[in-house]
Amino acid sequence: MYKTFAEVKLALKEGATVESIVQHYLTEIENRKSLNAFLEVFTEDVLAQAKEVDAKIKAGTAGKLAGMVVGLKDNICYKDHKVSASSRILEGFESIYSATVVQRLLDEDAVIIGRLNCDEFAMGSSNETSYYGPVRNAINEEYVPGGSSGGSASALAAGLCTVTLGSDTGGSIRQPAAFTGTVGLKPTYGRVSRFGLIAYASSFDQIGPFTNNVEDAALVMNVISGEDEYDSTSSSKPVEDYTNISFEGKKKFAVIKDAIQMDGLDPEIRAAFNAQVEALKAEGHVVEEVSFPYLDVMVPTYYVITTAEASSNLSRFDGVHFGYRSEDAKGVEATYKQSRTEGFGAEVKRRIMSGTFVLSNEYYDSYYTKAQKVRRVIQDKTNEILANYDFIILPTTASTAFKLNSVTDQIQMYLQDIFTVQANLAGNPAISVPAGTHSNGLPFGIQIMADHYKEKELLACAEHLMKK
């Protein structure tokens, strides 16, 4: 079992080949088929790639990530490979280019083993909206892995690859990381190029890694971060070396009082969190409660703006240029309507309808503009807290993973994001690291949020918390 890149490198040093490491993962994938984590395994392709990397290692020309075996969420494009966003509407679609993140990983000799199931168009918190069926949690298969990057989380937790990539629009990396006992990082908005990520909500989406330790998250971030001429929202700020981290001196932590006092917070998760707080205080750090009176409006704000952006982004699926076309449609308008109605699942249609509603002439100001104003209020308040504190810490989720098909009310499902969505609304980087195991046997996480572009400080703090 290779849980980390350090274990892979040690094996390579002791004479293993990348091909043998890939073979190991292929066997594990076969053993854990019931998870439904992989939509497709690129078996031939990844073995060919592995042989090439082995040759480069022999020749002494291998890149930094030689031996790393990566799984991609099924909304990240890889040239000449299928990608579907777990939707019927993109069944059979093959990408004609690679996402910038994929190209950068390949350039450093990582190999891509397959594509991972997710909620349809990354819309969901349990990985139950996929057209290709739900993903099961690797820790206990009766439970969901979280979502929307559920396949990425469960595959990593099961040891089916070294690292995986996911995308996070409201918590879609951090919540499944917490549910599967893995590390999940959402970078600052703009730190990682979104070119080649199938868009859900463009002012929220960020690609980030799932890993089994902080070091691997740092290694991946060193490679995938940075300016990209194909994404004009990618930041031109230089990328720091995220592997060169140290957690020194006394830090100031803010705890959002309103979240910790929330009724729905699981008592065991609260107790473990409070124990972490006491441990930090015992080390001499300052941990203080702050007020953040917007907890109740964060998810509604997120919902108005993301659905608006989704309704616009998903208008490109028209049944004409690519993807699914309804067989019986006559004429152009019926082709659009029937193809979209048959091609999209229920949750995606709900969000397109909500987004079209808030953008419609009569309701634009009262919903869409209003939500953009509340978003600024939330960002201003977040900035104000982080002007006085190094980090905001919270439990990643209010509960552990739930059983498949047990949350049927959409609003309850949307509230899964209650602690994670602040980072997407305000654009901040945030990470979830494992924080313990509940008496029900399932893991839970602690989330750290930092000021914009402070990934290095965030990773250092995450490493410190994980060591404890």
Binding site: G190, Y303, S315, F322, I352, M353, I411
Partner: protein, 96 residues
Amino acid sequence: MNINEELVDHIAHLARLSFEGEAKDAIIADMKKITDFMDKLNAVDTDNVEPLIFMSDEINRLREDVPAQTVTHEEALRNAPKKDSDYFRIPKVLDK
């Protein structure tokens, strides 16, 4: 928010989706719940607050206008559900 059939039909048309029978009943019920949820925003005082529109602090990313072919004709047509050698094909617009 009063979500009725007429409004849902109008929004569905704008979104190029259609809902019939049970699916329509379900979307009306869902949109009622969702708009009630979104109405929570009214609790926040946003007088004198400018909407937050751009999340990136990058401005005017200009570049030289250099012609380049990034997608070939063949690649553009590759995933089309129906095509001929040059064009996307759609169903007949006029029946005889």
